[in-house]
Every structure is written in C-alpha cells, then in structure tokens.
Amino acid sequence: MSGPLFNWIKEIRDRYAHPGKLAKKGVLGMNRRNISYISRYNPRHLYPLVDDKLQTKQMVLEAGVTAPDLIGVIREQHEVKDLAKLIDGVHGFCIKPAHGSGGKGILVITRNDDDGYHKTNGQLANLGDLERHVSNILAGLFSLGGKADVAIIESLIEFDDCFTGYTYEGVPDTRVIVFKGFPVMAMMRLSTSDSNGKANLHQGAVGVGLDIGDGSALRAVQFDRPVLLHPDTGTNLYTLKVPHWEQLLMLSASCYEMSGLGYLGTDMVLDRQKGPMLLELNARPGLSIQVANGEGLVPRLRQIEALGNKHKMTVAQRVAYAREHFSRKG
C-alpha cells in the first residue's frame, strides 16, 4: 500500500482534520456560527449599535459602563482642522473610524512631545499625518463598502502594568464571548512584532485562552499553533493571570442587557486606575478563541441554550453560573 495516491491521501489526512473529530470536539464553524448563532440571536436592527462605534460609545456612556473617555468626534472634512485643538494637551489618545472592521484604521498615539506624536510601534507622526488619517477615515477608506464615516478620538487607556512582558507594543485586550448574557469563553490577545502591535490573531498576535473560573492562562497559540513563550519577550505565557477577573466578567455579561445582542464578543482592557474597561463590542466575534482555548464553543453554547428562558438570572448569577460550569481548572 504505497504510491503517489496513497501518499497524497496521507498528506491530506495530516493537514486536514476529520470533520467528525472536529464536531466531536464541539468546534464551531463559520457557517454554523452565522446561521445558528449570529442570525438567530442577534437582531439585525441592533447591529448599528455595535457596528457604529460612536453609537456604541453613546450607549456605553448612557449605561454607565466604564469605558475610555470620548475626546471628540470629527464628522466633516472641514472639521479636520480642529483636530489640533481637540488633542491639545491630551497625553495619549487613539483615533478610530466609527465603522472600521477588523481593527482597521485605528491609530494609537502613546504620547506627544516636541518630536511629534509617538505611535505604538515607536514611529513618529506629525499633525499632518494625523489629519490625513482622519481624512481617510471620513472618506470611508476603512469602512465596509467605502461608506463615508466619522472619526472618533478617545483618550488612551493607561493600561495596567501587570501585563508588561506579556506583550510587545500595543494594548493587550481581553475578548470574552457572551452568549445570552453568560460569559462562555475568554482569551487574551497579545500583540507581537509579527502582528505590528495589533491584537488580531490572524495578523500574528498571540492568543491566550483564559479559564472562565479564575482568568488564568489555559493555553497559548500563535498562527493557530500552540506556543509556550511570547515570541518577542520570551515570557512564559502560561503564568498569565488576569486580575479583577470577576469584575471583568460582570462588565462583559452586562453588555447583554445593554446591547440586546445574544451572541456577542466583548473586548476589554485593564486600566491602571479604573480597572476593566469596555473597549468595543463585536456582533460577529471570530472563531480563533476556540483554538486559543483548545476547546470548541458548541457544548457551552448548547448548555446555555438548554437552560431556556424560564428564569431570569441577574448578571451576578450568570457570571457565577459560568464560573462554576465552564472552569477547566479544578
């Protein structure tokens, strides 16, 4: 039993997982996510709330959820001149398009001094560069379909030192999938030199699966492959533990009531002073979180669905339920 065909089949078996095995593991696929979860639990009319970061921001501020401060909004091309006035005296800030997707068009300035504005990757930018970036946002360069957009300027989070060494440039953020108000799975996204300081896994950021029970690391992956150490800093990723874990879960779980979306990705950061802060919401959260956790989402989602809608649970009850049932440390 050998020959080119046999080798070819063997190679296929080496490179591709058997769908049955994936299903057994409860891995959620893109099609199923779209049909069975997103389109079923996320009412279409609520999408603008999360797709438009300005609306999200206003909703978050009204709900009193902790989030970065809004410095200003630039809606029209002629307002671009006012950018200098808006950011005058602000130490660090970030400019983002209201309709950006996949982290596109987010410009983070960590500090400004006489040299100019310092970007996260250490490069310098001048006011002209910032204005050009804002014009690009307004023209719709980063929005889906090239629709005209608005630029949001937010104050920068003074992120907690507890993650120093775990990340290379960029802000480490915590993604929690919230299903019907229950935090079902979490991971931390750490930027690397491969990802250019961005926290998107497909760009090369490291994903660390977090235990829902206590926020400690379960597993770490880069480019979908398990890693032990951070590729740039060499820190052991398995020692990672997110502080204020309960508070963070409460914050993410409360986004269910606030947004009305049943299947939600919440992105959070830890601020030195204010603790967990909501950065943004995502109505179509990606699937890499499963790879980072080494576990499929389907069994947990099924478990929540099986609970039914009979008893209304409070945020605290839901978090407690999730910590009890979805913890993998024991």
């Binding site: 997982a17 058997h18 696929g29 893109m30 099609n31 014009s135």
Partner: protein
C-alpha cells in the same frame, strides 16, 4: 428555533419546478441534453412544368405544412417573371399560387421547402376529416361494392379495422375487385365505400423521402379518420401507419396542381437530406412560432447572444457561493471573480490572465505613489480608474505595434472593477502586507478561473441557454448552500491543531 419546513418546501418546489421544466423542454421540444447533436432536415424541391398557351397563366401547387413527423422550416420559390402568393384554402390546405399576364412555351416553376425530421412536430391546426358524401352507384357495381363492404364490416369493429379489412377484401374477392376496377381505380372505391359506411376517409398525396432522388412522383395513400385522429393506409397492402420518411404533400382533399392557361402540366420532386446542428434547426423551427412557446429561440439573434452571456452568470455565482461557503476561499470583493471570469470569456484565458496581472501589477505600483499624494478616497479611486484606462490603452497600442492582436482584448475588462480591485489590494498591502495580497488576490483569481472554466464549458453553455428551468435549480442550490452549517474545507485545516493533542 423557527421551523425549517417552509424552507425545505420552497427548495423542494424549486427543484421540482426546475427539473420538470427542463424535462418538459427535452421531451416536448426535443431539445437534446448534449450540445452538438445534429438534426436531419430534408430539402425538397418541386418542379412544376407545363406548356403555356400564350395568355394569362395561373398555377396553383399544394404545399406541405408542419405535420406529424415533420416541421416546416422555410420555403422559397424560383419563378422568373411570375407573381407569387402563398394562400390558404378554406379546407386548411396551403398552396403556392403563381400568376403571370402572358406566357408561352415551356414553363418551369420551382418551389423549395426545408422540412425538419421532428418526432415532436406540432401541426398549426389539427387535420380535419372531410365531410361525408354518399354517392349512388349504378348496378352491378353497387352490389359488388356492397358485398365487399359487408364482408369487411363483419370482420371489423373500428374505422381503422374496417379500412384494413376492406383493402384486404379487394384481394380476397378478386372477381368483384376486377369488376369494380373497370369503373374507377381501387383507391377511389375504398374511399367511397368507407364514406358509405360512415367513416370519413380521403385520398392523400405523399412523397417518399430518399436522399438524392430526383424526378420523383407523389404516391397515393388513404387517410382514414376516427374522430380527431387519423391513420394512413397503404391502398394495396392495407398496411396501417405512416412509414418513416413519408411526407404528406397534399392532404386537404384538394388537387395537387391546378394550371389555368397551360397544358401538359406535371410536377416532379427532387430531394436531399441534410444534417444541421440542432441549434440552427431550432432557430428555424422557432423563428416564426406562436406565443405559448416560451423559448429564447423566439428572440432575434442579437438578443439570443446577449442572453447566452447573461444566463451564464448564475453559474459563475454558484461557483463563488460554493467556494466561499464550502471551501472558505477568501476573495477580494464578493462577486468580482464572476466579472473577471466574464472578461476571460471574451479574451480567452491566457490573454486574460496576463492582461489582468499586468494591469493590476502596474496599477499597484502607481497606486503606491498615489498614497503619498494624500488624496480623498473618491478622488483617489477616480484617479485609479483613469490610470487603468490609460494602461489599457497603452497595452492595446503596444500589443498592436508588436503584432499581438490578442493583446487588444484587454479592453474587455470591467474598468471600474479593476480600479476597485487595485484600490483594495493596495490598502491590503499597506495594512497587512504583501502576504495577504497574494492570498486574497490569488483566491480571487482562482475563483475567477474556476468560474471561467465552468461558464466556458460547452455543455454548461448549452444547458443554461436551452433549459431555463436550470435557473430554478441553481436557485435551489444557492438556497441550500445558504443553509449549510457544516465546516468549511479550510476550517478543517485551520482547526487541525485542536484535534492533534492528547
């Protein structure tokens, strides 16, 4: 969970409707499943000859129409100096009428008709039985005829069996037959006796089609009616049914040829058999057809060509849907590959690919310079469009100067789409690096090539154009794909690390 029953019902209905429409077209209109099938057509030429007596001449020839087994495609005449009219008589018979004010000497008029051998031919009007007429014969012929008829009636039950038995009886009772033959030919007797028995029947003039025959003459058959139906009977043997290749020429109780103002008139036939691609044959068949026939063949040729292209788009779209949902290929712009594939159809694959890569590659180079100019998006896209047009013009001219006429075809590319492709790729390059550009650009090109291969397939082109029902099947497939919750092929690779451990 919402019930999926209506969904499956809809898909089921679409499949059923699509399949039955296609089968209907195949079986009713005889449209083959495979392209390139040939259809037999007969070109038959009737030559009318007579001696004109020097004055006005009116010649009227019976001509065949679409009838079971044959569809009339087109007809033409050659008759110098004669006026011509195609007329229809009250009994439904078609005739060609020639007329001229003055003619003398030998005259020859030609009439040519193309008949498609067509098992599914639909005659424009049903064949009407002739009115019954009973003629009284003098003795002893009446008694002889009645004897024959009585014997035949004893052994028959239906009009057809009566006709068969009657013809047989003429052979059995040879004395009676001979007696009758003294008065008029046997065929006329058979018709007359059938009429007498209340069975409508008539003599028809038919033509045996044999390839390459010349100066053939019409032969006689007996057409016997049973209500709306009829059968042909051979007047000598009593054989029932229309032999293959028998074309009825005159079947409306009229004369084959009438000539006023001439003598010694006769008509002879020559014929050839032709093989035509079925498309040509169908074009002719449907060219002058009625409304109820819902076919693209009724459109003018130019619109037909247009629809050939339009009806292929669902095939391309289906390819994109399957590749994105089942495989998970990333493309830049959802249906951009279909448009590129449509351009490939015009340019041929290799020329198209080279042209596409050249234009997008050059475009990316120039676009990277445009980034430095810090332009607003709309202006930048517009600049890219103008740039693309410039490049297309440049490539065309260079290709022409070098004698590469193939290169001229780059003009078939959709320019706006190219401009957006360049813009998207350029942004992708800036944001995620050349790696992603290769992945997404390659993905789009791969999908475009697959869509092209599907859309350029002779079989698929044939099927989509001839079977509109397939569009419903495509619809059903797309709907089903939209309901697919399984893994994508590329996800099997992506999630492979998850099942490797332990």
């Amino acid at each position: 969970m919402a019930s999926r029953k209506p969904f499956y019902l809809l898909v089921g209905l679409l499949i059923l409707a699509g399949a039955s429409l296609s089968l209907h077209r195949h079986y009713t209109y005889d449209i083959p499943w495979l392209p390139g099938e040939k259809r037999q057509t007969w070109s038959i030429e009737a030559k009318v000859e007579f001696e004109a007596s020097g004055g006005e001449v009116l010649a009227s020839l019976a001509i065949p129409n679409t009838q079971p087994g044959f569809t009339q495609l087109n007809q033409q005449t050659a008759s110098p100096g004669y006026g011509l009219a195609f007329t229809e008589r009250n009994n439904g018979g078609q005739r060609a009428d020639w007329s001229i004010r003055e003619a003398s000497g030998e005259q020859a008029l030609y009439y040519r008709v193309d008949m498609l051998l067509d098992p599914y031919a639909a005659p424009p009007s049903p064949s009407l039985p002739p009115p019954l007429k009973v003629s009284i014969e003098k003795e002893p012929y009446a008694t002889a005829g009645n004897q024959l008829l009585d014997r035949a009636q004893e052994r028959s039950s239906t009009p057809y069996t009566l006709a068969r038995e009657l013809i047989q009886e003429f052979q059995v009772q040879s004395q009676n037959a001979e007696l009758l033959a003294q008065l008029k030919p046997r065929l006329n007797w058979v018709v007359q006796l059938l009429q007498q028995a209340g069975v409508p029947a008539r003599q028809v003039h038919a033509l045996f089609l044999e390839d390459g025959r010349r100066r053939q003459e019409l032969i006689d058959y007996i057409q016997v009616f049973d209500g709306e139906d009829y059968q042909l009977f051979h007047p000598e043997t009593g054989e029932q049914g229309r032999p293959e290749n028998l074309l009825m020429w005159e079947y409306h109780s009229g004369p084959v040829l009438e000539v006023v103002g001439g003598k010694h008139s006769m008509v002879t036939f020559s014929m050839i058999e032709q093989e035509q691609p079925f498309g040509v044959a169908l074009n002719q068949k449907f060219s002058e057809n009625e409304l109820l026939n819902f076919s693209l063949y009724t459109l003018p040729l130019e619109e037909q060509a247009l629809f050939k292209g339009i009806l292929l788009i669902p095939v391309g779209v289906l390819v994109v849907v399957l590749l994105r949902i089942l495989v998970g290929v990333k493309t830049s712009g959802t249906f951009m590959p279909v448009l590129i594939a449509l351009a490939f159809i015009q340019t041929s694959l290799m020329t198209g690919l080279i042209g596409f890569l050249l234009i997008v590659g050059m475009g990316l180079l120039i676009r990277s310079y445009l980034s430095y100019l810090n332009l607003l998006l709309v202006a930048r896209i517009s600049a890219v469009i103008i740039m693309v047009i410039g490049m297309i013009a440049l490539f065309s001219i260079v290709a022409y100067k070098l004698g590469l006429t193939e290169g001229m075809k780059v003009t078939f590319f959709p320019m706006i789409i190219l401009a957006w492709t360049i813009e998207r790729m350029s942004i992708l390059w800036e944001e995620e690096g050349p790696h992603q550009v290769v992945i997404q650009g390659g993905g789009s090109l791969m999908v475009a090539i697959l869509a092209y291969l599907a859309m350029n397939n002779e079989l698929i082109r044939h099927l989509t154009f001839n079977f509109l029902g397939l569009q419903l099947l495509f619809m059903a497939l797309v709907l089903m794909a939209g309901n697919y919750t399984g893994y994508r092929l590329l996800e099997l690779k992506r999630f492979k690390p998850m099942v490797e451990e332990k």
